[in-house]
C-alpha cells in the first residue's frame, strides 16, 4: 500500500461546503445515510441515564462530535458542556505534540534522527515512539506512589518538568523497549525549546497549528519554567479537537497547505517497532502504540492482533485519561471526538464506534461529496 493511498484526501468539492478553518459546515446525519433508530442505540450507550448519579461509575460521556467527509454531522453535549466550551484533553495532547514535532521536521528545526540535547544515545524518534528506555512509571491517581507522571505534574517537579524527566536513569537501551511514557512527550517539548528562541517557542503551537487550523479555543499549559508539558494539558472544544483529527486524516495537509511533512502521518501511524502485545493488552482491547498515536492495525509477523475487533483496521486514534479520544476512520472518512469523565473501565471504544458505524450502513448509500485522490 503506497503512502499516498493510505490516507484519503478529504476534498470538499461541493460549493455549499467550505474547509472548516473558520467553522464546520453542519448537516444532518440522515443526509449521509444514517439510520435514526441505530443512531438512538449509539446515543443511549454514550449518554446512559445513570450517568446522572454521583458515584462516578459507568459511561460518562460529556461531548461527542462526529465529522464525515469534512462535514459536522453529529454533536451532543452533557454536564454543562457546549459546542463553544473547552474540555480537558489529557493525553490527546500527545497527538498535538506529534504534530509540533512534524512541523519542526518540515521547517528544518530538527530531524527525528537527531540526538536529544546532552545525550549520545537518545534520539527524537525514540521519544516519538515512547521507546526512550528511561526508567519511567506511568500510573495515575489510583496508584500515585511511585508514579513518575504524578510526580512530574503534581509532586514538586512542575517547576522544571523537562529537567525532571532527564534526571531519570535508563532502564533499557533507547529504541529497544516500548514503555508508554508522558515523560518522553515532555522531554520532546523540552528538546524543542532548546532549538529556538523563547519567543519562537511560546508562539510555535499557535503559529504552526492552532492559527492555521482555526483552533481558536486551544489553551496549552506549561510548567513553571515555561516548557509545554506536551504529554497533557491541551484544552479545547471538541469541535477544535476534530480539526486536529482532520489534519491527520488529510495526511497533514490543511486545505491546500501542507503542515506536516509528506509521509509523516503514515510513518506516525505505524506500530512502534519495540512494541510487543501482551496478553493483558489483548484482553483489555488496548490499541497498539504508534508514534504518539494509537493504532488498530494487526501485525501477524509480530503476533499482534487487531485490538478493536469491530472497528476497521486502518483506524488510528489519540487517547486520553478518563475516556477522551479522537478516532480517525480513514476508509469511512470519519473523525469521532469523545470527551468524557469516565472513572472506571465500563466504557468500550470498540462498542461505541461499532454502534456509530452500524448507524451508517453500507458505503454505497452515502451521498458522496468527497473525492478519492487519484493514485
Amino acid at each position: 500500500m503506497g503512502i499516498l493511498s493510505f490516507f484519503l484526501f478529504v476534498s470538499i468539492s461541493s460549493n455549499s461546503y467550505s474547509w472548516p478553518t473558520k467553522e464546520w459546515s453542519v448537516e444532518l446525519p440522515t443526509k449521509f445515510g444514517a439510520n435514526q433508530a441505530q443512531l438512538e442505540k449509539f446515543l443511549s450507550y454514550s449518554f446512559p441515564e445513570e450517568m446522572k448519579g454521583t458515584d462516578r461509575s459507568g459511561v460518562r460521556t460529556e461531548g461527542i462530535v462526529v465529522i464525515k467527509d469534512g462535514i459536522l454531522i453529529f454533536e451532543k453535549y452533557a454536564s454543562g458542556y457546549a459546542a463553544d466550551k473547552r474540555h480537558l484533553a489529557w493525553s490527546i495532547t500527545k497527538m498535538l505534540t506529534n504534530a509540533l514535532a512534524g512541523v519542526a521536521v518540515r521547517k528544518g528545526v530538527w530531524k527525528t534522527s537527531d540526538f536529544v540535547p546532552e545525550s549520545k544515545a537518545l534520539r527524537i524518534e525514540h521519544l516519538l515512539q515512547w521507546s526512550s528506555g528511561l526508567d519511567w512509571n506511568e500510573t495515575y491517581e489510583y496508584n500515585p506512589l511511585g508514579s513518575s507522571v504524578i510526580a512530574m505534574l503534581y509532586g514538586g517537579a512542575h517547576f522544571d518538568a523537562g529537567r525532571f524527566v532527564e534526571s531519570h536513569p535508563f532502564a533499557a537501551t533507547p529504541g529497544q523497549r516500548f514503555n508508554y511514557s508522558s515523560g518522553d512527550s515532555t522531554l520532546m517539548m523540552s528538546a524543542l525549546r532548546r532549538r529556538m528562541s523563547d519567543k519562537d517557542y511560546e508562539n510555535f503551537p499557535w503559529k504552526e497549528i492552532f492559527e492555521p487550523l482555526g483552533m481558536k479555543s486551544a489553551v496549552l499549559e506549561r510548567d513553571a519554567a515555561g516548557t509545554f508539558i506536551g504529554s497533557s494539558y491541551l484544552h479545547a472544544s471538541p469541535r477544535d479537537l476534530a480539526k486536529l483529527g482532520l489534519l491527520f486524516l488529510n495526511d497533514g495537509v490543511w486545505g491546500k497547505k501542507r503542515i506536516l511533512p509528506e509521509g509523516w502521518v503514515y510513518e506516525s501511524s505505524r506500530i512502534v517497532p519495540a512494541f510487543r502485545q501482551s496478553a493483558r493488552d489483548r484482553r483489555r482491547m488496548s490499541l497498539s502504540p504508534a508514534a504518539h498515536l494509537w493504532s488498530n492495525a494487526a501485525d501477524p509477523s509480530r503476533g499482534i492482533s487487531k485490538p478493536l475487533p469491530d472497528v476497521p483496521e486502518d483506524m488510528i486514534a489519540a487517547m486520553g485519561h478518563w475516556g477522551q479520544s479522537i478516532s480517525l476512520l480513514p476508509t469511512e472518512r470519519m473523525i469521532v471526538v469523545r470527551v468524557a469523565d469516565d472513572r472506571d473501565h465500563s466504557f468500550s471504544l470498540n462498542k461505541f464506534l461499532k454502534l456509530l458505524l452500524d448507524s451508517f450502513g453500507p458505503e454505497k448509500n452515502l451521498e458522496r461529496i468527497v473525492e478519492r485522490p487519484s493514485p
Binding site: T54, R56, S79, G80, K85, R86, H87, L88, E141, P144, L145, G146, S147, I150, A151, L153, Y154, G155, G156, H158, W206, V219, L220, E221, R222, D223, A224, Y233, H235, D341
Partner: protein, 102 residues
Amino acid sequence: MKKIAIYGIFCLFLGAALWIGLNWKSILSFPRILPSFSAKEFCTCYFVNGQTEPYCRELVRQYFPLKDLHINSELKEIYARGFTTHKTARFVNERFGCQLVN
C-alpha cells in the same frame, strides 16, 4: 506458637520498613500531590474551561478529602489545603491557562 507469632510480626514489620525505605521519596512527596492536583485542575476547570464550582469540586474529588479549597476570583487563584500542605494555582492568561505557583 507464640514464637511463630512474634516471628510473623517481626517479618511484617521488616517488610513494611523495607517498603517505606524503597518508597521514601514518593512517600515524602505524597502529601503535596492532593492539594497540587486539586488546585491546578480546579483552576483549569473553573477559569479555563468555564465550568461551575460544583462541577469542578466533583472533578477534583479524590479518596482523601481536601481540608479546604478556596477560589480567589479577583486574583484568579485557587488555594487548596490537604494533609499538612497548601498549594496555589494561578490563571496565567488565555493562551497558557493555569500553573501551580508553589
